[in-house]
Symmetry: C2
Subunit: 260 residues, 2 copies
């Protein structure tokens, strides 16, 4: 499916599109986090990161299942996860970037967690009941994730010279990707008909306040506004997503329709 | 530390040695299971396997922590996980074998789960209280693991021709490694002084009964007795463990003593 085709789908079924965005954010970030499995520097943190990855992939599973039901084209969550190609993915670009070092992983997690709790908090009271249910459960998980990543922000920023420098460098690389999280388009307008109302502007203001507060308590500096990157919501991705998907999808694609 | 040196430790501190065996089994198997992270053929199963890996690494974390306290040489669970070399590992060889295909992973998990629940069931009432506590918690987890892996045995054995053939092949490759699980040596004798009493012969008989029952209900064949491999409990491993440890330990060893 090319990008033009995708944009038609976007208009035809905004609810499906909206759910893909939510699901793909978590699927892609969960996969990046799972790349740490068994490679952490400390057993306890290895376990914590695997737990976070699991929560995210679990959320993605529920969201893509619901997306598939909404699409009504017979695609289930596995078809959506394993048999879509890069331009059909709807995650924000920030989430597909390679895991980098531990500081990069944790700073990204923090920036996303602070966004995600605001999303779930709003969505848990939306009038589209299946999504409200997913949101209420996911909010509990992400509140814990945010506490964990915020603690690491403080620990890294206020830690050694090296941890401070790495965290600051990660903030610097990631900042340009944060604007995309709060973009608003026709999909967001259309899903109001489904009782899904997100005030992106208010969310961005709350996000900025919380994120800036943690950054300054961590004795780190808020990066200056500058160039920004976006396009993920419309299927335009950085070159790394294709590689990640190739790896993530190979087992399922090598045995299409395999029934064990 | 060479093998000769290790054997002295074994005599000097059997409780430490005993705990290492328990912990290393779970650490090594948990790592092998975590290699599936993000590579499963089905989202739901990916999540289940990550959960099992997490439980195993969590159990290893508790066991190695307790081992470190017992050793009294200042090594904590991270030092034991990340800074021991291959001949210092005490896992049974079966657990270090590469993850193979899904059938191999799940058959091994089944053979180990059936063993592990018997171990925990006996250890939860041992009079060494810290171990009894770990055992009671781990038993609950492993009962769930055993149900999951037993279900897969039935599903694979009684599934397609290919799944049946793969499960049978996995059983055939793994069988020679199962005897090691029930070996008994001076360490097992010595920890009776700590109130830790395991009747390996009785465990093996119960294990055989349960395993044979599931294998036959899965319409698979119990492999014939033949050559057997062992040595892991004394630090003799197959060549694959070194590669696995290199990968598992690289982050921690690249930043020794790093405090984030």
């Amino acid at each position: 499916m090319n990008v033009a085709g995708t944009r038609e789908t976007q208009i035809a079924n905004p609810l499906f599109e909206f759910l893909l965005r939510l699901g793909d954010d978590r699927l892609v970030l969960g996969h990046r986090m799972s790349e740490w499995c068994g490679h952490g520097p400390i057993l306890e943190e290895d376990i914590a990161m695997a737990n976070i990855a699991l929560d995210l992939v679990g959320q993605a599973n529920s969201l893509l299942k619901l997306a598939g039901e909404t699409e009504g084209a017979g695609r289930d969550e596995d078809a959506l996860a394993y048999f879509r190609s890069e331009p059909e993915f709807r995650n924000a670009q920030m989430l597909e970037l390679p895991k980098g070092d531990f500081a990069f992983t944790m700073v990204r997690q923090f920036l996303f967690d602070a966004y995600s709790v605001l999303q779930w908090d709003a969505l848990q009271s939306c009038s589209f009941a299946p999504l409200a249910g997913i949101a209420a459960k996911a909010l509990k998980e992400d509140v814990y994730h945010l506490r964990h990543s915020s603690d690491w922000m403080l620990r890294m920023g206020d830690g050694t010279e090296e941890s401070h420098a790495r965290a600051q460098a990660a903030l610097g690389s990631l900042w340009r990707y944060t604007g995309e999280l709060f973009e608003r388009d026709a999909v967001d307008e259309a899903v109001r008909d489904n009782g899904i109302i997100l005030d992106q502007a208010a969310m961005q203001s709350m996000w900025t306040q919380r994120v800036n507060d943690v950054i300054s308590r961590a004795t780190l500096a808020v990066p200056a506004a500058g160039a920004s990157s976006s396009g993920g919501r419309r299927g335009r991705h950085t070159e790394v997503l294709g590689h990640m998907l190739a790896e993530m999808q190979i087992v399922a694609r090598s045995h299409p329709g395999a029934k064990w």
